[in-house]
Amino acid sequence: MNVLFFLCGFIAVVFVLFISVYLIISGLPAIQEIGLVDFLFGTTWASTASEPSFGILPFILTSIYGTAGAIVLGVPVGFMTAVFLAKVAPPKLAAVVRPAVDLLAGIPSVVYGLIGMMVLVPAVREFFNLPDGASLFCAIIVLAVMILPSIISVSENALKAVPREYEEASLALGATHIETVFRVSVPAASSGIAASVVLGIGRAIGEAMAIIMVAGNVANMPGLFKSVRFLTTAVASEMAYASGLQRQALFSIALVLFLFIMLINVVLNTLLKRKKG
């Protein structure tokens, strides 16, 4: 029986190693050919031009700005919802809100993208009186909604794990319920809440399907109401017909994204470890 468990675990490891190695092997040649500095800091991406250039700085910056924007919008809402669910909401109301949050997590990203494309993009165009609504702004809003569930559920669990004695001590000293929540429970759960934010970052930076439908996908340097392309969408949008160096460069973008996500996971693990330790 033990052998079976071992084999199953081994299969997972093999896949992990295979994918990592494959990505590194297929991602490095283009970086070598283009040059690391030109690749990472070049501001022009024109993969099929007669004089092709492969600078992915616009994608990197867009991914960073987009993720940061989603965090700025999503974290306050998600955090307050978590506080509400864990400490404030009457049980009956929480029983309605919690499944709704879970349901939000279960909606496929293509549905977010479709609704964003059909409803959000035209609405943004009308509201801000723009020629076209597909922009970084729309992508940020879609990402902010998409990261809510992970922020809410992880933060809520962290808040619930705060020992009752802490809060009782605070209440016994005469603090109000809200004071207790924000002065005692939240600081005690801070590493868990931080972990939820990092998890949100991870989700936002890796998302492709939803934002490819609302961001416009032009390789511009990022601007709030400009049509932009993320690291993920850069790979997804050109892969179908790519060939030669263009195709290799797309793998290199995937490699850069891989490193970003690794970094986020390292941060996440450090946070979670600190929580336990």
């Binding site: 997972a12 490891v13 896949f15 992990v16 994918i19 990592s20 494959y22 990505l23 024109a46 993969s47 099929t48 031009a49 007669s50 004089e51 494309m117 059909m118 993009v121 035209p122 165009r125 020629p131 076209d132 609504g133 597909a134 991870g202 890796g206 492709a208 490819i212 439908m213 416009g216 996908n217 032009v218 049509s227 392309r229 993920t232 790979v235 997804a236 949008s237 050109e238 892969m239 179908a240 017909y241 790519a242 060939s243 263009q246 797309l250 793998f251 995937a254 994204l257 891989f258 996500i261 690794m262 996971n265 390292v266 693990n269 470890k273």
Partner: protein, 294 residues
């Protein structure tokens, strides 16, 4: 600690696995578009009375990938013994390949130039590209020059071409798309287009143009539906007839390029005969091009 490293690697690799999966499946589907193509019925044309075998190597235009995908799948039904290989490397490489004999049939999504000698072209299909605007847009006719100026951002307001006051939103396809390559090469706007939106499918282009009153885009003729307005170019409406008789300007030929001095193999000749026959016309139409065979 070890466990955590493993979990970390696992989650990271899963994310990347998703990406790798995307790439793989995309190329897969691009090579075998005939999954949903109509089955080719065995017919009584003289070509397939004899069973041939062999390999036909084709090389060239990436714009013809879709057409070639449908044709090679369809041809398998007619001549199961013949394998037709396709390599997408660009029209120029297709012509060179036919000249120096590195492939049996070169593929070019343009006509031969005067200095490309020793080869001849056989037109298998025509590619008509419709210029689409929102139905609310009063502009109904543009010249090729005006379209090029709209695409490159020289004209930024619809009022300059007789429309309402409104900023032009130019919507197109992603780099590498055959339709994009076709549009840009015909209008002479290679690498100069100022896109507001680069989408990965014709359907998305049409959906975006349908939802934005200031949008202009391009799409394969066969994909245009009533949610958008296909404008006339120089007074000529884009239809199969105007593409075939050459009066509609935004079109190009899909050509087989064959060497004039070396004789084609039986297998290659059979493929060309079949592809230019009426039998393959439906497949070519399914791929979004206009068949030339009657």
């Amino acid at each position: 600690m070890k466990k955590r490293t493993l979990a970390l690697m696992l989650s990271a690799a899963l994310c990347v696995g998703l990406l790798a999966g995307c790439g793989g499946s995309n190329t897969g589907s691009a090579n075998t578009p005939a999954g949903n193509s109509p089955a080719v019925t065995e017919s009584e044309t003289p070509d397939n009375t004899t069973e041939l075998s062999g390999t036909v190597n084709t090389n060239g235009s990436t714009s013809m990938e879709s057409v070639m995908g449908y044709l090679t799948e369809g041809f398998k039904e007619v001549q199961p013994g013949i394998t037709v290989n396709y390599t997408g490397s660009g029209s120029g490489a297709g012509v060179t390949g036919a000249q120096d004999g590195t492939c049996d049939i070169g593929l070019a999504s343009r006509d031969l130039k005067d200095d490309e000698t020793g080869v001849k072209q056989i037109t298998v299909a025509k590619d008509g590209i419709a210029i689409i605007v929102n139905p609310q847009n009063p502009v109904a006719d543009l010249s090729v020059e005006q379209i090029a100026a709209l695409a490159t951002g020289e004209i930024t307001n619809w009022s300059e071409v007789g429309g309402n006051d409104g900023e032009v939103v130019f919507i197109g396809r992603e780099a590498g798309s055959g339709t994009r390559d076709g549009f840009e090469s015909i209008t002479g706007t290679e690498d100069a287009c100022k896109y507001q939106n680069e989408l990965t499918s014709t359907g998305e282009v049409i959906a975006n143009v349908a939802s934005n009153p200031n949008a202009i885009g391009y799409a394969s003729l066969s994909a245009v539906d009533e949610t958008v307005k296909a404008i006339t170019v120089g007074g000529v409406a884009p239809t199969e007839e105007t593409v075939l008789d050459g009066s509609y300007a935004i079109q190009r030929n899909f050509n087989f390029i064959v060497n004039e001095s070396t004789e084609l193999s039986d297998a290659a000749q059979a493929f060309i005969d079949w592809a230019t026959s009426a039998e393959a016309a439906d497949l070519i139409a399914s791929a979004g091009a206009v068949p030339v065979a009657e």
